[in-house]
């Protein structure tokens, strides 16, 4: 696996997750093992109900695994030391999330949608706005900084959502079908952008997707079937991370 000799930013070891008990028990994840290194873009595929979102929820500290060990940026989470507030803080500081649909707050303009994450992290108003504008410029939507979400096109809104996910310079970026609402051309642009971010910010990106057209953008592709994880050979990334 790529990244030998370096510490994985996301390390999932023997993680299982089940819902219900007895006859009603449903095993959503079974003995999952996964390491993602800085600068890597990893694809997670699988049919509906295979456990992709459950795995993403576990890595995003939204849902606690039933068993196994999860390490994020060197810190073992869910080992009884973590309070709900600590996990929230960890999510705020270390994890950026890109939803399938942008999920922008409809009452904030593009700048504030990005700045809100920084304000929650405790950054001052001026610094937050400055960083938000910088990110919007980086993602080439700076000219739409004052637009409300309903005034943005699908691609623009997704870029603002990506800017929000990057605001706190997270080490881990989780993306849930970020290209689903986009046409193939825009989907490729977004994936290239994510790859550039992984390289520039030395971040690990885990991306759930159904889109066969963008498989060549991943370093590794994992397939989930009935809660079990298989690895597939990648089609080959377009850009090589500079850190490797």
């Amino acid at each position: 696996m790529a990244g030998e000799g370096r510490q994985a930013v996301v390390s999932v070891e023997h993680v299982s997750k089940y819902f219900g008990v007895g006859a009603a028990r449903v095993d959503a994840l079974i003995d999952i093992n996964l390491d993602v290194y800085p600068g890597q873009v990893v694809g997670l595929m699988g049919p509906s109900g295979s456990g992709k979102t459950t795995l993403l929820n576990c890595i995003a500290c939204i849902s606690q695994p039933s068993s196994g060990r999860l390490t994020l940026d060197g810190e073992v989470v869910y080992d009884d030391r973590w309070l709900k507030a600590d996990l929230r803080r960890l999510r705020l500081d270390k994890i950026g999330f890109i939803f399938q649909y942008p999920n922008l707050l409809p009452f904030l303009d593009a700048t504030d949608n990005v700045a809100v994450v920084l304000r929650l992290a405790g950054l001052g108003s001026a610094a937050s706005l400055s960083r938000a504008v910088e990110l919007l410029e980086y993602l080439e939507v700076g000219h739409r900084r004052h637009a409300l979400p309903k005034q943005l096109s699908g691609g623009e809104a997704q870029r603002v959502a990506i800017a929000r996910a990057l605001a706190n310079r997270p080490r881990i970026i989780l993306a849930d079908e970020p290209t689903a609402p986009l046409d193939s051309q825009r989907a490729r642009i977004v994936m290239d952008l994510l790859r550039r971010i992984a390289i520039d910010q030395n971040a690990a990106i885990i991306c759930v997707t159904h889109d066969e057209m963008i498989l060549d953008r991943f370093d590794h592709i994992y397939r989930l079937r009935d809660g079990r994880l298989d690895i597939e050979a990648p089609a080959g990334p377009r850009l090589e991370p500079a850190a490797r």
Partner: protein
């Protein structure tokens, strides 16, 4: 970055319309407070207008407002000679209904002796009564103008309006009017001519109309009013009540039922308002479930979410309260009875509104805190 303010700004029309509806409801709560205040103030005003220290009434009665009282007209001379009494005046009280231009006018008539205690306390237009007959000073609520004539009594004597007062009404909302004691006695105690002739024919004694309802006494500041009251009560046919006793009776006993009714209506309205505010806040929160889930997902603490809901609830309540207050003051002159707002009751309604909003937001807060951050994922797929 104030999320509550941004959300309100984003949905300004909905917020404004919601506020309008709520302001009508809170306006009614405020109005009932004004009616309640007016009820007590009007009731006390009758007693306070006389500026009495003691009320001398018929023995074993609580007159002249709570119960009827009838005492001989010369009681005033008797009272004025008691040690400690500085001034005394005889008064009568009665409700009358006069027809003017085909419309009924209800008046609360007070008969008093010119130059003695018991007359109008403040005249805002015209003059006080100078002639001993057929002049009247009346509150503006009666809708009468200076110089206008109004027929009163069974003999149809016309009384000329010579003075106008402001805010002198009874607890029932009837305007107060002052006439001379002699005129009032005639109106109240003189029977119609056929009845007099019938009484004479059957050999009955001629009735005197020199009767009054009460004597108002002003006591020297150097003599305790209670001592004078005790001295007056030694006469077996009289009872003396202090001003404090009279006011307690008026505010607590005479208008007790009306007061309780108003209070009950107000409590019910507050409950209805609280339920409506709770439902509004709940609906507003429901509309934001996706945004709340996203905020939680990206790491917003619970206090940010709770703050968002509480700030919106308070904005809704405070803006509606102020708008309701404005509406009440705009329509106050058209309300059929006097609305009295004292700072305490206005502050109490404001505090009730704030508490109501905080209590009502509990439902919304519970909903918001239950929102699973994972819903941001679920809704996206």
């Amino acid at each position: 970055m104030n999320l509550a303010y941004r959300d309100i700004k984003h949905n300004l029309l909905r917020f404004t319309l919601t506020n309008f509806g709520l302001s009508l409801l809170l306006g009614i709560v405020i109005m009932i407070t004004g009616v309640y205040g007016g009820l007590i103030d009007d009731a006390l005003r009758q007693a306070r207008a006389a500026r009495a220290d003691l009320w001398v009434v018929q023995a074993d009665t609580k007159g002249p407002f709570a119960e009827s009282s009838r005492i001989p007209g010369d009681t005033r001379e008797l009272v004025s000679r008691v040690y400690g009494v500085e001034r005394a005046g005889a008064v009568t009280y009665q409700s009358v209904q006069a027809e003017l231009n085909g419309a009924p006018h209800r008046l609360f008539l007070i008969g008093y002796q010119l130059g003695r205690p018991g007359g109008p306390s403040k005249i805002v237009a015209g003059r006080e009564i100078l002639r001993s007959h057929y002049e009247i000073v009346v509150d503006r609520r009666a809708g009468l103008a200076l110089g206008q004539e109004i027929p009163l009594g069974t003999r149809g004597h016309k009384f000329t309006v010579v003075g106008l007062m402001q805010n002198e009404v009874t607890s029932a909302g009837d305007p107060v009017a002052y006439i001379t004691l002699r005129d009032a006695q005639r109106l109240q105690f003189e029977v119609a001519p056929p009845s007099t002739r019938r009484e004479q024919a059957r050999g009955g004694a001629l009735q005197t109309n020199d009767q009054i309802n009460a004597v108002i006494a002003r006591v020297s500041p150097h003599v305790p009013a209670n001592e004078v009251a005790t001295a007056l009560s030694r006469w077996k046919h009289l009872t003396a009540l202090t001003q404090a006793q009279q006011e307690t009776m008026l505010s607590m006993v005479v208008i007790e039922r009306a007061r309780k009714q108003q209070m009950l209506i107000m409590v019910l309205l507050v409950i209805v308002s609280a339920v409506i505010i709770a439902l509004i806040i709940y609906t507003m929160t429901m509309d934001k479930v996706r945004s709340i889930a996203t905020l939680k997902f990206i790491g917003a603490p619970d206090r940010t979410i709770v703050g968002l809901i509480i700030q919106q609830a308070l904005s809704l309540g405070i803006v509606s309260y102020l708008a309701g207050m404005a509406l009440v003051f705009i329509f106050r002159p058209y309300f059929p009875r006097r609305l009295v707002f004292d700072p305490e009751s206005v502050a109490v309604v404001f505090i009730i509104t704030v508490v109501m909003c905080l209590a009502a937001s509990i439902l919304g807060i519970r909903l918001a805190l239950k929102v699973d951050p994972a819903e941001a994922l679920a809704t996206s797929g």
